[in-house]
């Protein structure tokens, strides 16, 4: 199944919600924030999709307003790989956790919380992963400022 078929399949399952392909990535389906936990559970359990292998999840920061949370998943049964995106508001980024569906998502969400500041309600153990526990700030954001980060002369 390609991304377009995924979008149609999800559209028939969740009527009233709009599933479109992402403008930047032709293999990515944008999922509205309201249906996030049920939608991923459906993708994992439904016969036609059966996404049992969670690749990764990460964030792409697009200032000033937008932050894209990208998930990539694969089905070992049907052998299709598709990315899914949830578009967040950069200043108030909050997504329900899906770590109960795939164990692999656990550390990915901790890393995103650590480096981007996205909050995942429902995650059992949300603490910093890469940075020390008492670090302030979220380093991978585009507006991160720290005295050690200097601009190169060129």
């Amino acid at each position: 199944m390609k991304a377009q078929q995924f979008a149609e399949h999800l559209g028939t399952q969740y009527e009233g919600k709009d599933f479109v392909l992402d403008e930047f990535n032709r293999e990515c389906v944008v999922i509205p924030l309201e249906v996030v936990p049920q939608c991923f559970e459906f993708l994992r359990d439904d016969y036609a999709t059966q996404m049992d292998y969670f690749d990764f999840s990460t964030c792409v920061d697009r200032p000033p307003d937008r932050m894209d949370l990208v998930y990539s998943m694969y089905s070992t049964v049907h052998r299709h790989r598709v990315q899914f995106k949830v578009i967040l508001d950069r200043n108030n980024a909050c997504v329900p956790s899906i770590a109960h569906l795939w164990e692999n998502a656990n550390w990915n969400e901790r890393e995103i919380y650590d480096l981007y500041g996205v909050f995942f309600p429902g995650h059992k153990d949300l603490r910093r992963l890469m940075m020390p526990e008492d670090w302030e700030g979220h380093p991978l954001r585009k507006d991160y400022a720290h005295p050690n980060l200097v601009v190169r002369p060129d």
Binding site: D22, F24, N25, E27, C28, D52, Y53, F54, D55, F56, T58, C59, V60, D61, V70, S72, T76, R79, R81, Q83, W102, E103, N104, N106, W107, R128, L129, M130, M131, P132, P139, L140, R152
Partner: protein, 355 residues
């Protein structure tokens, strides 16, 4: 079990809650080797990021280079010439041999056997000599570039590669002879660290670790890249899911790598070794994900470009990051010596995890 420990394959910290000699709970703490490679990648041009990806996994530097370069080529819609594809296969397979030999040496060292370490490093030196003749570096190559490779290889390199294989293939049984008939090794590894298939799927385990649990999954077969679709090789699979099975899979993979290298020697075409590209070339706007088979598992790169000459976001999905999450579940109820055997059998490297 602190970050500075000879058996943790790098700076991994395991906070273990013990009851006598048994582990009750385990919490892996990573981040001691975090070098913000992803942030650095956002501030360098596309070609300048390649030496940074070298350091992503320094035991298999060719693979780390390659996954990033493949992502850039997919976004920019570039096709490298056929000779470059074969050179890339040769380098990736030689790197696989070097990495598995390093794994074999350190795995045995952690279980307590010192001799196999010397055997495998003696032969790994010969592979590093080959790399040095091709690109000038022993460990951090910066060789696979966008559109091809940085320098061509000549017939002398290929002859020396075959000479190495002729010398080395009869030695692989020597590595196995040191361990296979050893009752101490059997007691330490058979039945230890069992990862059943549902657990593999739930955690996203890939590479030799999932092949030791009974599934023939290999990115070189499922999603071919470089020249792998034209080459013949088998995928070794074992069914027992324990430490011994993971060891057997990697030993058999060494033989398969030698077979692939011999086919490349026969089939490599002549031609240019790369595309002529501008130093500061621009990649069109877009995002993409590619993945290849590294000796540790399935390494992937998610690249987002905003149309400029620097990446907008470069995320590396590394197998070690995924496999360390397994430790929390796997190390429950094991004895202290088993911790080393289990941790070592997954072939974790910390630079990949922490980036």
């Amino acid at each position: 079990m602190g970050p500075q420990h000879p058996s943790t394959h790098g700076v991994l910290r395991l906070v273990l809650k013990m009851d006598g000699e048994r582990v009750v709970d385990c919490d892996p703490v990573v981040g001691y080797l975090h070098r913000s490679i992803e942030k650095m990648a956002e501030n360098r041009t596309f070609t300048q990021v390649i030496p940074v990806t070298d350091r992503l996994d320094y035991c298999t530097s060719m693979t780390s280079n390659y996954v990033y370069v493949l992502a850039v080529e997919k976004l920019a819609d570039l096709t490298p010439p056929p000779r470059a594809e074969y050179i890339r296969v040769i380098m990736t397979e030689l790197n696989r041999i070097a990495s598995h030999l390093l794994w074999y040496g350190t795995f045995c060292l952690e279980i307590g056997a010192t001799t196999p370490f010397l055997y495998s490093f003696r032969d790994r030196e010969k592979v590093l000599d080959l790399f040095e003749s091709a690109c000038g570096a022993r460990l951090l190559y910066n060789y696979i570039r966008i559109g091809g490779v940085s320098q061509d290889i000549n017939q002398a390199f290929l002859d020396r590669m075959i000479e190495f294989l002729d010398y080395w293939e009869p030695i692989i049984p020597e590595y196995e002879q040191l361990l296979d008939e050893n009752p101490i090794f059997y007691n330490r590894t058979v039945g230890v660290g069992i990862v059943p298939l549902e657990m593999c799927r739930h955690y996203g385990v890939s590479g030799p670790n999932v092949r030791a649990s009974g599934v023939a999954e290999d990115v070189r077969r499922d999603d071919p890249f470089a020249a792998y679709s034209e080459l013949e090789f088998d995928i070794p699979v074992e069914k027992e899911c324990d430490v011994f099975a993971r060891y057997r899979v990697r030993m058999r993979e060494l033989r398969e790598s030698a077979r692939i290298l011999r086919q490349c020697f026969e089939k490599i075409p002549s031609g240019p070794h790369g595309l002529p590209l501008n130093y500061r070339f621009k990649v069109p706007e877009g995002e993409t994900y590619v993945h290849i088979e590294s000796p540790r598992g399935d390494i992937g790169c998610y690249l987002a470009s905003s149309g400029g000459d620097m990446p907008w976001r470069c995320k590396f999905r590394t197998p070690s990051f995924v496999h360390i999450q397994l430790f929390k579940k796997l190390l429950e109820g094991v004895l202290i010596p088993d911790i080393m055997a289990i941790c070592a059998s997954f072939d974790i490297v910390l630079p990949e995890t922490d980036r």
